[in-house]
Amino acid sequence: MADHSPSDARRIPRPDTRQHGLVASRWHRLSIKQKQVVWAWAFLAIPIVFYTVVRFYPTANAFVLSFQEWNLLGPRVWVGFDNYVDLWNDPVFWQVFVNTFEYLLIGTPISLVISFFIAYHLDKVRFMHGTIRALYFLPFMTSAVAMAWVWRWFYQPVPIGVFNNFLAGFGISQIPFLQSTTIALPAVLAPAVWAGLGFQIIIFMAGLRAIPQTYYEAARVDGVSNWTMLWEITLPLLKPTLVFLVVFSSIGFLRIFDHVFNMTTNNPGGPLNSTKPLVLMIYETAFGGRSQMGAAAAQTVVLFTILLVVSLVQLRILRDR
């Protein structure tokens, strides 16, 4: 390929000669439109390779692998729907399934109500507006892993944990935050809600700003109460923002992993799997020692389906109203 045959030499365009090389002369014969097409595909070449190799092929691979059994070493064996059937019959999966939806059903409404409440009022405050906004936004700039450890410390029993120390100060009995099968899940969820509030508040406030003041002025002329204005003007006009935040935060809560993993490292997803979300189950199945890649792939397909269905249902419901 690299040998310098005369034909190769001719292909290199030389600026000092009148005779252009083969490629160069072809290039000059193209119309501007055709040149644009060549440029476009040249620009897209690397991205197309990337999306094919790093996005589409792996996606297809995950689907295929979900019908196979493979432990990373031996051959991949076709097993049909066995992985899915096993999952269906696995009681742990159903607990994980319920947990995952608990994260969604507790996390999304609570975080949206709090963030809307704060955004609504913060929008009406001018004094130190930027500072207060920064206070609410700061947690968004943190890493989930670091904050999981901070909150894990907060949740420790007396005399270590901040919360229990605080409660003890009021003579309230201790709460075994991370040891109780009922309290652990909300306790793990709390830092995730906390860290996401800032983003939601900022987006809500941008949405509120976009509502034309004339609506409020007109309503005020009609003597409408603040409460009615909120329900009849603000919320309906805020719907696009609301739809975006509902879908966006729901996807986030359904995919929760960092917080759970780091707050329960001694017993991931514990106690008794009561905090285990689907992503943690996937991680353990694939990388937790037994390398059941096929089974894990089937779980990722389930996750994909859940995300897709939840998003579509939410869009349906919220758009129609």
Binding site: F56, L138, M141, T142, S143, A146, M147, I160, I203, F261
Partner: protein, 294 residues
């Protein structure tokens, strides 16, 4: 008529007030609103304050919940940084997040530009194809990525950690939206001046979408700086951990030495916090821009 005018004046003066310079709260209700919001804001940053304050305490003082250490010390920082692991992880995170951000900015804007400004057959299909990858959760791809990395020997390397994030569909979408605001005349003029398409993209179109590039950069950098699950899987050598992965393993190892764990958490959090405090307005504008257009 007079009443209507009155109302109009009142309304417009109120709307003026709304966007006016900062001024102290006017009435009682407004003051309560302000005070509660401010108190809520202080509660929000409490975990961060506790993290920093505890990282400055000796171990015997950790159980005192006072916010200001009686004997402030940097011993924890010297101890945690002494063996160089946190320093290595910090550098790893910095290099990986920076390179990924640069790659994402270049390729996302290039693809967004092409899909926005070039008319050619197949452009719609390419756009839809790229956008469709937004629906695929990362968790679904980590297993195939792991298999790929194993085959190619990419595990335990910067490249192995970085390759999945070198381009994002979100960024393509965002940049395409913003290139719509660049007038075609500008590009046409540059074409007549004899610039080639690469030069037009880089020196004419790109400077016009700087705000969008900045917004994308913030999101991508923050996302990579805090990324956990893929770096956790892609690395097994301690010296190649990123900060979150390193902190997670350090937390397990330090067990109940909370002042040390808080120091590690502070080291991995403070850079982004400081960055935010310095560029606050700019970052919030970027977040809104990316959030609403994306």
């Amino acid at each position: 008529m007079a009443v209507a005018d009155d109302i109009r004046i009142k309304a417009s003066s109120e709307s003026l007030l709304r966007s006016d310079q900062p001024r102290p709260p006017r009435d009682y209700a407004q003051f309560i609103r302000w005070a509660l919001l401010f108190a809520g804001g202080l509660v929000m940053v409490m975990p961060l304050v506790y993290m920093i304050s505890t990282s400055l305490k000796y171990s015997f003082e950790v159980y005192n919940l006072n916010l200001i250490p009686e004997e402030p010390t940097l011993d924890n920082y010297t101890y945690v940084l002494a063996d160089g692991r946190f320093f290595t992880w910090f550098i790893n995170s910095l290099v990986i997040a920076s390179l990924t951000t640069i790659s994402t900015l270049i390729f996302d804007s290039l693809v967004g530009y092409v899909l926005c400004k070039f008319k050619f057959r197949g452009r719609y299909i390419v756009f839809i194809a790229i956008l469709s990858t937004l629906m695929i959760p990362t968790e679904m791809l980590i297993i195939p990525w792991y298999m790929m990395s194993q085959n190619f020997g990419w595990l335990d390397s910067y490249w192995g950690i970085m390759f999945p994030g070198l381009m994002t569909a979100f960024g393509v979408f965002l940049m395409k939206q913003f290139f719509e605001t660049v007038p075609d005349d500008f590009l046409e003029a540059a074409r007549i001046d004899g610039l080639n398409e690469l030069q037009i993209w880089w020196s004419v179109a790109m400077p016009l979408v700087k705000p969008a590039l900045a917004a994308l950069a913030i999101f991508v950098f923050l996302g990579n700086w805090t990324a956990f699950i893929w770096p956790l899987i892609a690395t097994t050598t301690t010296s190649l951990y990123t900060l979150p992965v390193g902190l997670s393993s350090f937390g397990d190892e330090a067990d109940v030495a909370w002042e040390l764990i808080m120091t590690g958490a502070a080291i991995s959090t403070l850079p982004t916090l400081v960055f935010f405090l310095v560029f606050q307005r700019f970052i919030i504008r970027g977040v809104v821009m990316a959030g609403l257009k994306g």
